[in-house]
Symmetry: C2
Subunit: 243 residues, 2 copies
């Protein structure tokens, strides 16, 4: 089975109130049953209006303190509002845990590709719900059975570089268990669970230009199955042997 | 640009001494300039004979202690020999840092898909060198300019599930910098570096069945560029803000 990854290219910036499902449908090749659509969180947040104008932000004393002379304290204030805790802080770098449970740089708050200078884009409030909403509308418009992943590029511990990562999903189980299967020698794979939604998000990122108005990618040929929340990808810290 | 991912399916088990380049060339569709070949570490190690027969292993007292009643002390002994330090240990789970600098479960030592019952497969001794060797031979046989990635599926901190990960590379820079590029609003992406080799390894894993004799995947349509070692993907712990 060959997998194909098609970029979905827009010819205009996404603005608040845009019907993202309709824009994607119009820009994509026709959907087929089993297609996986990976959409950037930035496209979703811009369409949902999850954007903050820094002129409206009054930094707290904590934000002023963390910003020091490196950072815009209004951006730090927005990051703190999106976070449940600060994990680490060094110079302008701030790693926090977001209210979604994601541990990432700047709580996903980003100035690049923002709608206007002086604005920042936040992560979607509820990425699973955004994925479910897009999926429902796209399935309604097209009649095809789909899976939808909301993705962001994120840094990670231990390794350099950011990678496409699933933060919301609908229409598939983000984890695929190989437990109980046996190899050609009859050795049983006891506990292998693959984070397939993260692999799909990483694959999609190969065509999701950060700069070229490609807010989505269509992946064809991967047999997504099941149903589940992207929160299942977030490890319970008590179970984390790495850190 | 569409990306295509083709599984490279073998019809026999790989054994020590196999000419892996020739087997891949024969099983794959014809290579074209710019193709990225992702090969599982297990295929490489089996062909290179980097396999240990547990009957030949005398566990040390440290291995006996770590194995307790959960684990085979001979497997633990092999893991310790492949490691420079034990990062964490709980029950049968052992996270170590390998001599390559990889922090992973069991130092990558694996009983599944081993050549025979009672044997374990190690990670390749020098995955970059294995990638370079495969690349040189495949380029010589086919005349196409290629990139080769050696991949394994690995767990990671913070998130559940394993994902395809690059542990060796040749013919491409595993990291792609977006620094200096500007978005449509002229906002400069100061420090964005994408771990493209990890994204390619994750994408390939979508077709690399753990059980179906698919030891490689051919990725077409991704413009790999540059040159570099997969060691560049391993973060200097002093620079790690996550842990």
């Amino acid at each position: 089975v060959t997998i194909e990854i098609f970029p979905v290219q827009f010819d205009a910036e996404i603005v608040e109130g845009d019907d993202l499902a309709e824009l994607i449908r119009a820009a994509s090749r026709p959907f087929r049953d089993g297609d996986v659509l990976v959409v950037t969180q930035k496209a979703v947040s811009k369409a949902e209006g999850h954007v903050v104008d820094l002129a409206d932000v009054e930094p707290s004393s904590r934000a002023l303190e963390l910003a020091g002379s490196h950072s815009d304290p209004r951006v730090v204030e927005v990051i703190l509002r999106e976070s449940v805790r600060v994990v680490r802080h060094r110079g302008p770098l701030l790693i926090t845990e977001t209210h979604h449970g994601l541990v990432c740089a700047s709580a996903g708050v980003d100035r690049s590709n923002a709608p206007r200078p002086g604005t920042v884009v936040l992560l979607p409030r509820d990425p699973d719900a955004s994925a479910a909403d897009l999926r429902t509308r796209l399935e309604g418009q097209t009649g095809a059975r789909l899976a939808v992943i909301i993705a962001d590029t994120m840094g990670r511990p231990l390794r350099n570089g950011i990678v496409g990562t699933a933060i919301g999903s609908s229409g598939m189980d983000p984890l695929r268990s190989l437990a109980g299967q046996v190899d050609p020698n009859n050795f049983q794979l006891a506990t292998t669970v693959v984070a397939v939604a993260d692999e799909l998000a990483a694959a999609a990122d190969l065509v999701l230009g950060k700069l070229e108005r490609v807010p989505a990618a269509l992946i064809r040929g991967y047999a997504a199955a099941g149903e589940g929340s992207a929160r299942s990808l977030i490890r319970d810290p008590a179970m984390d042997l790495f850190i």
